[in-house]
Subunit: 324 residues, 2 copies
């Protein structure tokens, strides 16, 4: 865990030193702004960790790691337009601070820059690295489309939901680790094991994100609780509750989500009461543990040194047990 | 020229057979729609021509060629949002037919698909091919930003304008040829000569596009004349006219562009009268010839067979002499 915290500092230092403010300013200033907004730096940290796990030199992985972080921030720029999001990490979103056109085009440029950083290492495994990255980028777009489609669907199942978060969030965590492993010249079989570890960790991570939105402490989480409920998001919690509830409670729950006259606090309170009745908090925790165990199984089959494996397991455990 | 027409048919057949309609439908149907809208297929044709020029097998270049066409159409999807364009090639734009969010996300997916097609050949020169493509993609975004910035600037020079169209349009034509050459294992020096040929041809091509918008025949051009004048676009024609005109005429011209009460036909007519007075039609033709000659100089320095060089020169000549 300390090693990963050091990686995060390293990434932040690199991004600060790397000057993204080039000409034309209306294109590059938003990029520099987005990349210095902070955040967990989860994806680049995982690239470095994946490289280290298989005995690689993390310096070789730095620029591809930055590429993954640029890609992630590109998706945020475009998602914020699509979701009409005003704030991110306590600051105005690019789309609000500038405008939609600039957020589209700066995002497009970041996608190209992501490739530039990944390419700049000229690694032996370049084709495999780029195939992994490209396939993942396509899947992330598919996940975002499913998420948008869910808004207008009333037949979303838990299985659909898990597939959506797998595509939208989890595969990129898996790909980050796998790309790190490929930079360290891990063979395909081991690179795929660490990918599976990352995807399952990512599923638990996203479930925890939804969990914190409903059950977290506002103080620790840093944002107000119940946002997903107010926004009528079809989360695991809601879908599990709909699955378990009696027909009258299911009707009541559906009614709460459709009621446009109800205030946010009242809506959140009443929905959480039904969530509690059907123990969806515990159900969600069980699901996270399930994915964590699948992650464990994958990483334990790899040939990496035990102490490094333990470090990553500790990180994965923290990701789904965290309270913020 | 016949060879290039055959390449175009080949590209259209490939795109028709390749089914882009996958799940989720809201993501992939717009992609399939955009890729089967027609168009000149200039970029993929140039990839195949660049490959053939240096003795490569054009079958090896087919998938990268498709990648370049997908990339070009991605930029059109996003440009149409930014320009609020309702129609393209006689059909509704993706952004109008679906919505902004879908046009953003389908575009993003096309950018990733472009890489997928370019990668799928697994060529010996893959790093050089991808570096060329990625750098070009960044430049195309920069060009689009300059173009948007021009709308709010009153100090745009002809030099600024030429740099904008170089980035927005010309480098992608150069890159298409260069990528084809690299697939045929041309060395860097020759790949760069054909790139220069493509960039200069691209500059002449874009100047002709602007020329046709002002002086073309509506019947042959397939769209109404004067669109750039109505939209207050800072084209070569306007900038050259402002440069040459006497202070009173310059003031008159500026007034016509600012007058919001003037009807489109009257505005176009009066602007064209001033264009005629200062012979900007002829000035623009001279500039095209200048770029065509630079293109000639570059391609004639290459070691490619004379008959193939002549074929490409004929094509470049057609591009800036065409009447539609």
């Amino acid at each position: 865990m300390e090693k990963l915290a050091a990686y995060k500092r390293k990434i932040n230092e690199f991004l600060k030193l790397e000057n993204f403010k080039r000409s034309p300013a209306n294109l590059y200033n938003p990029i520099d702004y987005a990349l210095n907004m902070g955040g967990k730096r989860l994806r680049p940290v995982l690239v470095l960790a994946g490289c280290d796990l298989f005995g690689g030199n993390i310096e070789d992985a730095m620029r591809p790691a930055i590429g993954l972080e640029i890609f992630h921030n590109f998706t945020l720029l475009h998602d914020d337009i699509m979701d009409d999001a005003q704030q991110r990490r306590g600051s105005e979103t690019v789309y609000k601070k500038w405008d939609t056109n600039i957020a589209i085009l700066s995002g497009d440029t970041m996608f190209a820059l992501a490739y530039k950083y990944i390419l700049s290492g000229n690694h032996k495994n370049l084709p495999a690295i780029l195939n992994t990255f490209t396939q993942t980028a396509i899947e992330v777009c598919e996940g975002q489309q499913h998420d948008m489609d869910f808004e207008n669907r009333n037949d979303v199942t838990i299985r659909d939901y898990l597939e959506m978060i797998r595509l939208k969030t989890a595969v990129l965590l898996g790909a980050s680790l796998k790309i790190g492993a490929l930079i360290a010249n891990a063979d395909a079989a081991h690179a795929n094991l660490i990918y599976d570890f990352g995807v399952n960790t990512g599923l638990a991570f996203q479930l925890k994100d939804d969990w914190l939105d409903a059950f977290g402490s506002e103080e620790k989480f840093g944002k107000s609780i119940g946002g997903d409920i107010v926004a009528n998001k079809k989360t695991y919690l809601l879908l599990k509750c709909l699955e378990k509830a009696t027909p009258p409670d299911r009707k009541k729950l559906a009614g709460l989500y459709q009621d446009k006259t109800l205030g946010a606090a009242a809506k959140i309170g009443q929905v959480l009461d039904i969530f509690e009745k059907y123990e969806v908090k515990e159900e969600s925790t069980l699901e996270m543990e399930n994915f964590f165990n699948l992650a464990l199984k994958a990483i334990k089959s790899s040939s990496a040194p035990q102490d490094k494996i333990n470090g990553l397991i500790g990180f994965a455990e923290w990701l789904y047990k965290r309270d913020h």
